[in-house]
């Protein structure tokens, strides 16, 4: 009955699941064109990230997806040595908070760096990582 020789299946790297907790399709459609869009509250002019169903500033459900440059600064980073499930074959990899001039921070991976040159406040720019299923996922690299 049991098949002891069945190999243990590796957990695959988690892929983004769009439109589960709200409609995030504008974000992913823009990402496929290598454009970063984030929500702007028209009443206050302020930006928010991650996406929410309504504006955290006004409570109104009228936020507007707005393209931004993706040029930011490094706010903090950590070298991940003990992986989140599905990322085991990537270690060590860098997770970071990047701050955008629009007044939000993005949790992301950093590419094209060995980690040694990093310093808080240094300029970074967008890097679009191609995931296994072809999805373009926003990451950053030294500018």
């Amino acid at each position: 009955m049991n098949t002891p020789s069945t190999p243990v299946k590796k957990t695959p790297r988690p892929l983004p699941k769009a439109n589960v907790y709200m409609d995030t399709s504008p974000f992913w459609e823009a990402a496929q064109q290598r454009r970063l869009v984030i929500q702007r509250c028209p009443k206050t002019g302020r930006f928010q990230f991650f996406p929410r169903p309504g504006s955290v500033f006004s409570g109104r459900r009228d936020t507007v997806w707005t393209e931004v440059s993706g040029n930011g600064t490094l706010y903090s980073w950590t070298v991940t040595r003990s992986a989140w499930p599905g990322h085991e074959d990537r270690t060590p990899y860098i997770c970071a908070y990047v701050e955008l001039p629009e007044g939000v921070r993005i949790l992301c991976n950093l590419f094209n760096t060995d980690g040694v040159e990093l310093s808080i406040g240094m300029p970074v720019k967008l890097y679009w990582e191609v995931l296994e299923n072809g999805t373009l996922y926003p990451a950053f690299q030294p500018a």
């Binding site: 988690p14 991650f50 955290v56 903090s76 070298v79 992986a83 989140w84 970071a96 908070y97 993005i106």
Partner: protein, 390 residues
């Protein structure tokens, strides 16, 4: 709850903390319940209120607290389940006190039990994490505290020897605590801390908790009822303060500025105390850096001064500010989401003068803190402070 002594904590119970012990949250909770009944001489029908903490192991059950009542054989007239992570235990003391004052019930079992290390993978936080966190591979709390530690090091002078001192002090306490996880009851030196491997640089293995199983709880009742039942021990929750999603609409708030800068001073003010009056600090410790932030933001020292403060004070049970005298979660093991009650029941134990080899002299009061939930791009979701007085 403003400096009142009309509601009391009259008993506590705690299981041993075990790594993959194999017992369910219900089984562990039953052990705490039996201890409390034995210590007080009460029977299950004397208890008419139940407040439980959410778990990692049973959270898929939307009726967890109702099942718990059925499992233990109690008939609550007021039943509460609280999902504030490591804040739930002391939050439930405050909620129980309110329910007792309102007259919904008279005697509340405040219970936290979790079998996270044995029954894993049943809780899923979902929401934005599937799109904006999991694909990056951020290693949950370890990753977030790595980011916070990096930020702290950038802003201030973080002395590794201060973290090493906290690690060793707490480990020495765990050696004296029979309920601490056996895997962790081995002496460590400051050198062990300083050579401990990185898990999410600059966070080290010995900065971090190990997820285990365990349960703890207290009995809360009106002071009047405690006298009627002829209960011998009583301490009083005299001040409480809580905040969720601190600075929720400020996306560029400093990530090492936490809700404790609000709830720490507020709880002390409600208790009519200053930091110098705090006899012991039983502070939520998922990572050592959290203790530094709590010390600074509650007001034991100024911003960026925690390293110097730690190096110039003695946090052992016989020191000037006893800290996490059961070993804390870092050296006693994190009893899943029941871990928020570990340092809390240690405070109660000390104030009942049942601390044995690690008893604090003159345990007139305690500050107990909680930290709950890891949000996006911030520090933690919930901060709370409970002041207990004899």
């Amino acid at each position: 709850m403003n400096k009142k002594r009309d509601v009391a904590i009259v008993a506590y119970g705690e299981t041993k903390i075990e790594f993959r012990g194999g017992k369910s949250a219900y089984d562990l909770a039953s052990e705490v319940f039996a201890q409390i009944l034995e210590k007080t001489g009460l029977v299950p029908e004397d208890i008419d209120g139940l407040a439980v903490s959410e778990t990692m192991s049973e959270t898929h059950n939307p009726f967890y607290s109702v099942y718990m009542a059925e499992m233990l054989g109690i008939t609550p007239r007021w039943n509460q389940v609280t999902g504030l992570g490591g804040c739930s235990a002391i939050a439930n003391v405050a909620r129980a006190a309110s329910a007792i004052r309102e007259g919904y019930c008279e005697t509340v079992l405040v219970l936290a039990a979790d079998a996270q290390s044995s029954m894993r993978g049943t809780a899923e936080q979902g929401a934005q994490r599937h799109e904006f966190q999991y694909p990056t591979g951020l290693k949950g709390p370890v990753g977030v505290f790595g980011l916070m530690t990096q930020r702290y090091r950038h802003l201030y002078d973080l002395k590794d020897e201060a973290l090493a001192k906290l690690a060793v002090t707490q480990r020495n306490h765990a050696l004296l605590n029979e309920n601490a996880c056996e895997k962790l009851r081995k002496p460590i030196t400051e050198a062990d801390y300083l050579t401990s491997k990185y898990v999410s640089d600059p966070l080290r293995m010995l900065d971090s908790v190990m997820v285990c199983d365990g349960a703890n709880g207290v009995l809360v009742t009106s002071t009047k009822n405690a006298k009627r039942l002829n209960l011998k021990k009583a301490i009083y929750p005299t001040a409480y303060s809580e905040i969720t999603s601190y600075k929720s609409f400020d996306f560029t708030a400093e990530i090492i500025d936490t809700g404790f800068s609000v709830v720490g001073p507020e709880a002390l003010r409600k208790a009519g105390m200053g930091v110098k009056d705090v006899r012991m600090l039983q502070a939520y410790d998922d990572f050592l850096i959290a203790l530094m932030l709590v010390m600074e933001q509650v007001g034991f020292c100024g911003p960026g001064e925690a390293s110097e403060y730690i190096l110039s004070h003695d946090f052992s049970f016989s020191g000037d500010l006893p800290l996490n005298t059961g070993g804390g979660q870092i050296s006693a093991g994190q009893a899943g989401l029941a871990g928020g009650g570990t340092n809390f029941v240690e405070a109660v134990r000390q104030m009942f003068e049942e601390g044995g080899a690690r008893q604090i002299s003159n345990p007139v009061n305690a500050m107990v803190t909680g930290i709950g939930m890891i949000p996006y791009g911030r520090n933690w979701g919930v901060s709370n402070v409970l002041i207990l007085e004899q």
